[in-house]
Amino acid sequence: MTFTTHTGNRGLVLEEKLIFEQGQPGRTGVDLPEPKGTKTRLGGLDRESDVGLPGLSEPQVVRHFTRMSQKNFGIDSGFFPLGSCTMKHNPRLNEKVARLPGISDLHPMQPESTVQGALELIDQCAHWLLVLTGMPAVSMSPAAGAQGELCGMMAIRAALDARGENRRRVLVPESAHGTNPATAAACGFTVDSIPATEDGRVDLAAFEAKLGDDVAGIMLTNPNTCGLFERDVRKIADLVHAAGGYFYCDGANFNAIVGRVRPADLGIDAMHINLHKTFSTPHGGGGPGSGPVVFSDALAPYAPIPYVVRTENGFHLVETADEEDGKKPFGRLKGFHGQMGMFVRALTYMKSHGADGLRQASGDAVLNANYLLARLKDKLSVAFPGYCMHEALFDDSFLKDTDVSTLDFAKAIIDEGFHPMTMYFPLVVHGALLIEPTETETKESIDQFCDAILSLVAKAESGDAEFFKNAPYLTPRRRLDETAAARKPVLRWKPETA
């Protein structure tokens, strides 16, 4: 029965105003001692006007954010096969450990003698990453994958500068994530696209043709964003090296191969690792992440400050560029020393799995993706032939005659109780649907998803395009008008002018 309630609430789905619409002067959610009225020493800049913050009591605040949370879908809610994002289970143990006072309550400028455990933790985390990648060096400071890319590409710039070479062209496959070209540009490189082959990999011939002495290197994602292993990765490495360039590997998809393939064995020079993907630090609705970068011997000297070294007197944090002989750090990427809160979670995750569990995890991730692929391949249009890695890519040709778009299809999936896959990425495929189940999903959950997808395909084929165009129907908000939002942006609340 459809009807409108007086409140606008719908049972357990409660409408929630902005905090700014709920405040009352004189209300507060904290109790702070009365100030003494000391004469200020604020350089005459004492604030005189109101800030404009609303006053809410603690109960209001708790309810506000509780209700808002209930309008979100997370991994804890259900199947979340967002391709390229590795939405795996986030263990609560990691949250608990990250909150130990001996970890969360450390100031980054404490004397080293008071943070030996923290430095050891960073060192341990680094050690696991080095062994898993087979690489000789790692920089722990990048704040996320994109900053990891910056870190790697700057090291390449620094290495080229050291060689006195002015190489400025970077080869980037068309299928690359947007951060790759953006990063290359931020480092002063020009981006040269490499086309993909029919089977979703780098076109080796085209790649080779593009090599030259102005080529700084290649940024290659492997497994790539089509969910495929770059078969020719070693050849690519050899070729780029032979041409005097470096091999930056985007490691966003490391989850497919952890404990089974060491990137070092493929000939890479640098690779970032998204701890918030492969090593399960929570995505947090957009972050924070962490993007450590492993380096080959060729690039290691240029790794940024700071970094941890083990000395006779314990662990030491190198914070200046000129402290160590033979090191030529390209600079500093971030305040302080990296995403400690993420290291502790990632290390907890790695220790929990162990070498055996990590290997099992990547195998299960690939198995789940291939199973999903097998179940859907007859009804959806598989983008590229063969086995996939940890994610399965489809194009929208299965929707060809239905007047249903990838977006429409995804919105209908929402009503079925799933988070949609990644849509329209990678760009090399028309109307892409990139599905990454991860290893922490059950076969039952994948089966349920596949059954629902197949039922939707049947519905689309039956000609009910209107149904899809208006989906979703069952969510707290239905399809939102993004065009209107961009046309006349309202980016903050403002008091109504009376």
């Binding site: 404490q110 070693r234 089974r260 609705g285 957009g286 302080f336 908000r477």
Partner: protein, 451 residues
Amino acid sequence: MRYLPLTRADRAAMLEAIGASSVDELYSDVPEGALLDAPVDLPSHLGEMQVERDMMALASKNIGASSVPSFLGAGAYRHHVPATVDYIIQRGEFLTAYTPYQPEIAQGTLQYLFEFQTQVASITGMDVANASMWDGATSCAEAVLMACRATRRKKAVLSGGVHPHYREVTETYCQYSDTEVAGRDGNPEQQASVEELNDLIDDQTACVVVQYPDVFGRVQDHTQLAEVCHAKGALLVVVFTEAVAFGAIKSPGSFGADIVCGEGQSIGNALNYGGPYVGLFATTQKLVRQMPGRLCGETVDQDGKRGFVLTLSTREQHIRREKATSNICTNSGLCSLAFTVHMSLLGEDGYRRLATLNHENACKTADALDAVSGVTVVNDSFFNEFTVKLSKPAAEVVETLVSKGVLGGVPLSRLYPNRSDLDHYLLIAVTETNTDEDIAALVGALKEALA
């Protein structure tokens, strides 16, 4: 393994459905020899209790900042975070969601981002703010790059009052994009004048960057500087490290700043040994389309109900690729939630009172320290952090203080390792968390250390 639900039977059934004989077969694209056939050389899996004990052993090798009297600042501040904050950010619907690309099932994240943006704009006194950056230092660098885009110029003047990490990160970001970073390191005894900075502004100068309060704790009016900048076609960028300050001092927006950005850790976020933190980034309406990072905007849904979406994404890497305003993708989502929740609890009254208490505590400490022989308070003005000059090298003194169970501040030599003229200076931060006993302990330990 507790996180891996597939059973042996599942695996067999799935391989059969796939038509593969083994999981290894799925890896057939891996080059010859690169596929390992055994686990790497790392320990085996461990149960939860064992892992927890391992991690507790590491934690116990550190001295928690709250376990002793502690006065460290320099860009990260210890404040009391209400228990509500940590509860909310642990709710799975927030914790385990990602960037709200499907707004119909991400209104929770989107609404708090809209609230966050409004809060940040309010405290900075600016028109709009984005949905967070990685931290204060990277925000500073991105502000400079944004100023360069907006002005089509290629030089930034950084005041000596800017935190060295912010300067270093800005230099790092600028070095490969032909952007000059001018201005010299600061001096706690002498504040840069408007004239000095003015002299550095030329017709290639995109912006002047000042920190407010500055790295030595000083609080300076930049209204005149804004005018100077604008007269020369440059932007004024104001950075900050202590977001609590704006509860007590005028907003940077009131100076006429064009970009205001900095560190939001102070509100809602633990010290975490330096990260993750949350970069706050605000600007004027005019410059919105030059902004880096995500933006959340208001709109309506198909039924006409108000809702929120990510918007203006044509600025971003996933749409614009090499032409994007920044390469940032994953930002500081959950830290911005913590900020939003804490700020919601504070409200107008709480935010301002918190700032007042910080300032009063800092004044009290400054007075107490000034009375110690061998200690001179350098600052005329400050919010909750100030610089003192000691009769002995500060780094040594800090080590002595550790042995007396006090975390006594940040020696400037830690921030400026190559500036021997700063060896005797110590940066002291005092917040609402410091008790009178803490202050007495610091005073007592300093007396002994300097005797």
